[in-house]
C-alpha cells in the first residue's frame, strides 16, 4: 500500500489507541489537547519511541510490527522529522545541519544538495550561520530542510510553528503549503491549533488521551463531529442534549425536506435527517456558529421560520471585527447558545447584554450525535 499506515496500542505509561492512514501528498493533522499523545505518535513513526503493540508501515515497507517482532532502528526508517524545538545541532552550521542528514548520499553530492535545500527554504546566503545566529523562523526552515535532506518517505512535523511569532508563522504556512506540492509524500502534522490544522491539512485526526476519536476533512470534523467529545475538542461550544421525536417530511416554502425531529428542553427542533437515530433515542446535538441566524429587527432574515429560539443575551464580547454573543436560554438549559456577528450588525440590532433576542437554528446545520456519556 502506498503511503503511511499507523496502528498503535498500549495502556501504559502513555495510553495509545491510535489508527490512521496518510496517502502520498496528503497532509494529515493530528489535533488534540496537550498530553493527548500526538507527539508520542510521531515518535512511534520515527522509531524513537517504542509502543507496546501495533504496526507502522510506509509504502508497503513494515517499520514496526510488535506481533512479528519487527522494529526498525530510527536511522533505518526514512522519516524526516521536524521537532518542536527544531533540535538543530548547535555545533554545526546551517549547511552542516542539513548535510548531517545525508549519510545515505554520495559524499561528493552532499554539499551541493544541502545548498539546494537551503535555497528551497529561502535560506541561501545563511549557509555558514550556526543555529544560535539564526532567528526562530530561520531555524525552523533549517529544520525543514534537514528533514527533507534524508529523502524521507514520510515527513513528520511536531508543532513546527509553535515557537515563532505570528507574522513568521503566516509566511511559513505558505512555504509549507508550497513544499508539500513539490514533494509527494505523506505529511503528518501535529498541532494543537485547530485553525492551523484546518488551513494546512487535507484531513484531521482528533486525538484524546492517545485515542483517535475521529478522522476526516476539516469541514467534516468541525461540522459533523462523531461525538460530543470531538465537538468539544474542535471548539464547538453549542452542544446540547435532546431526544429524537421522529422523522418527518416537511414542506418549507414549497421545498420538500427530510427532517429528524428532536425534543429539546420543551422545544421541538427540526434537524437534517439522520436515519441512524430512532424515535425515542437520546442524543446530543451540535450546531456550529455559522448556522445560528439572529433575527433582525428591520427585516426578516434567511431561514427565520426554522427553529426560532428566544433568549436573553448574557454576554457580548467584542473580538476584532466580530462580537461573540452568549444567549441565555432560560431555566432548564444550563449553558448558553454561542454565536458571533459582525460588530455593526450587533449594534444595529441592539444585541447587548440584557437584551432579548431571537435566533433561528438552521436545520441543515444541526448535527445529531450519540448522547454524551452520563446522559440519555
Amino acid at each position: 500500500m502506498r503511503g503511511l499506515s499507523v496502528a498503535l496500542a498500549q495502556d501504559a505509561p502513555i495510553p495509545l489507541a491510535a489508527g490512521f492512514a496518510c496517502a502520498p501528498g496528503e497532509v494529515l493533522a493530528l489535533v488534540g489537547p496537550s498530553g493527548s499523545g500526538k507527539s508520542t505518535i510521531l515518535k512511534c513513526i520515527a522509531g524513537v519511541y517504542r509502543p507496546g503493540a501495533g504496526t507502522v508501515a510506509v509504502d508497503g515497507e513494515t517499520w514496526f510490527d510488535a506481533a512479528r517482532g519487527i522494529d526498525l532502528a530510527p536511522h533505518a526508517r526514512a522519516a524526516g522529522m521536524v521537532f518542536q524545538s527544531y533540535a538543530l545541532f548547535p555545533h554545526m552550521t546551517a549547511l552542516g545541519n542539513v548535510a548531517a542528514a545525508m549519510d545515505h548520499a554520495p559524499r561528493a553530492e552532499r554539499d551541493e544538495r544541502a545548498r539546494r535545500l537551503l535555497d528551497l527554504v529561502h535560506l541561501a546566503g545563511l549557509e555558514e550561520r550556526r543555529p544560535a545566529e539564526l532567528s526562530g523562523g530561520q531555524q525552523q526552515r533549517v529544520a525543514v530542510a534537514r528533514a527533507l535532506a534524508r529523502d524521507p518517505k514520510v515527513l513528520l512535523l511536531d508543532e513546527p510553528f509553535s515557537s515563532v511569532d505570528k507574522a513568521t508563522r503566516q509566511r511559513l504556512y505558505v512555504e509549507i503549503a508550497a513544499l508539500r506540492r513539490a514533494f509527494s509524500m505523506p505529511v503528518v502534522l501535529v498541532t494543537h491549533d485547530l485553525d492551523e490544522a484546518a488551513m494546512l491539512a487535507d484531513r484531521l485526526a482528533v486525538l484524546h488521551r492517545g485515542r483517535t476519536l475521529q478522522a476526516g476533512t476539516p469541514e467534516e470534523v468541525t461540522t459533523k463531529p462523531d461525538s460530543a467529545e470531538v465537538a468539544r475538542l474542535v471548539n464547538l461550544r453549542n452542544v446540547f442534549a435532546g431526544r429524537v421525536a421522529g422523522h418527518a417530511e416537511a414542506d418549507a416554502a414549497g421545498e420538500a425536506r427530510a427532517l429528524t425531529l428532536v425534543d429539546w428542553n420543551g422545544r421541538r427542533l427540526e434537524c437534517a435527517r439522520n436515519p441512524a437515530f430512532k424515535p425515542g433515542d437520546a442524543c446530543a446535538w451540535v450546531i456550529p456558529d455559522g448556522f445560528v441566524v439572529p433575527h433582525r429587527r428591520d427585516r426578516p432574515s434567511r431561514g427565520e421560520r426554522e427553529n426560532p429560539v428566544r433568549g436573553t443575551i448574557a454576554a457580548a464580547l467584542a473580538i476584532g471585527p466580530n462580537v461573540q454573543i452568549a444567549l441565555d436560554l432560560g431555566p432548564g438549559e444550563a449553558h448558553p447558545l454561542h454565536f458571533s456577528l459582525p460588530a455593526h450588525v450587533a449594534r444595529r440590532n441592539g444585541f447587548a447584554p440584557g437584551a432579548e433576542a431571537t435566533v433561528s437554528l438552521l436545520a441543515e446545520g444541526i448535527h445529531l450525535m450519540p448522547p454524551a456519556r452520563g446522559e440519555g
Binding site: 522509531g47 533540535a87 555545533h91 549519510d103
Partner: protein, 222 residues
C-alpha cells in the same frame, strides 16, 4: 629540584588520563542515558573516592594489589615483579581513585545534551556510532575536557594513596608530591619550595587552559 619526580608525576598524570578517557566516556555516557537496577549503587561506588580518606583507599588497594592477592600474584607471575611499589601499580591505583573525577563531569556533559537532539541525530539517519561521534561527543566535549584536566591535576597532587601503594622509590614511585614531603622531612626547605612552585605552576596552567577551552567551546555552541 627533583626533575625525575616531576617527570614521573607528569607521566603518571598523562597515563591516568589516557586510561580514564575511554572508561570515563563509556561509563559517563551509560550513566547519563541508561537506567538499570543498581544504578544508584554504581554511582555511589564511583563517588566513594571523593569522600574516603586517601589512606583508607590506599590501604584497600595495597591489600588488593599486594603479593597475597590474586591480582598481585597474577601480575608477579606474568611480569616477574610485584605490582605494589611499582609504577604500574601506581597507575592502576591512580586510575581507580580518579574514577569520580573522570566519570562525573563526563556524565554531566552527556546529560546536558537534550534528548530531542539525540533523537534528531537518529532521525537524520545517523547510526548510533555516527551520532556519538558527530553529535554526542562534540557536545559533551566541555565535560570530557573538564574530566581530563581534573584527573590530571588531581593525580599530580595525590599524596596519601601514592605513599600507601607506591611508597617512595626514586624513579619508580616517588612523585613530585612525595618528593616535596621527603625534602621537608630532610629540612631541605629550598628544594621543597622549588618543587611546590613547579607543581603549582603545572596545576594552574592545566586548569587555566581547560577554562579557556571551555569558554571557547561554550561560545561556539552559543
Amino acid at each position: 629540584m627533583d626533575w625525575t619526580a616531576l617527570r614521573l608525576s607528569i607521566e603518571l598524570g598523562a597515563l591516568t588520563v589516557l586510561f580514564l578517557l575511554p572508561v570515563g566516556i563509556l561509563a559517563g555516557r551509560a550513566l547519563a542515558y541508561r537506567d538499570f537496577p543498581g544504578k544508584g549503587l554504581v554511582e555511589a561506588l564511583i563517588a566513594l573516592p571523593l569522600v574516603l580518606p586517601p589512606t583508607v583507599l590506599g590501604f584497600y588497594l595495597l591489600v588488593a594489589l599486594g603479593a597475597a592477592s590474586p591480582l598481585g600474584q597474577a601480575w608477579q607471575a606474568a611480569v616477574g615483579r610485584p605490582l605494589v611499589f611499582s609504577f604500574e601499580g601506581l597507575v592502576l591505583a591512580s586510575v581507580l581513585f580518579n574514577l569520580p573525577f573522570a566519570i562525573q563531569p563526563m556524565q554531566r556533559g552527556f546529560e546536558a545534551i537534550p534528548a530531542e537532539l539525540r533523537a534528531a541525530a537518529a532521525c537524520c539517519g545517523m547510526t548510533p556510532w555516527r551520532a556519538f561521534a558527530r553529535v554526542e561527543l562534540p557536545l559533551a566535549w566541555p565535560g570530557v575536557l573538564t574530566a581530563m584536566v581534573l584527573s590530571f591535576a588531581h593525580t599530580m597532587g595525590e599524596f596519601g594513596i601514592v605513599l600507601m601503594v607506591g611508597g617512595s622509590v626514586p624513579g619508580e614511585t616517588r612523585t613530585a608530591a612525595i618528593a616535596i614531603y621527603d625534602r621537608v622531612q630532610a629540612f631541605d626547605d629550598a628544594a621543597a619550595g622549588r618543587m611546590s612552585a613547579a607543581l603549582l605552576a603545572v596545576s594552574l596552567a592545566a586548569i587555566a587552559l581547560s577554562y579557556a577551552f571551555s569558554r571557547r567551546i561554550g561560545r561556539r555552541l552559543g
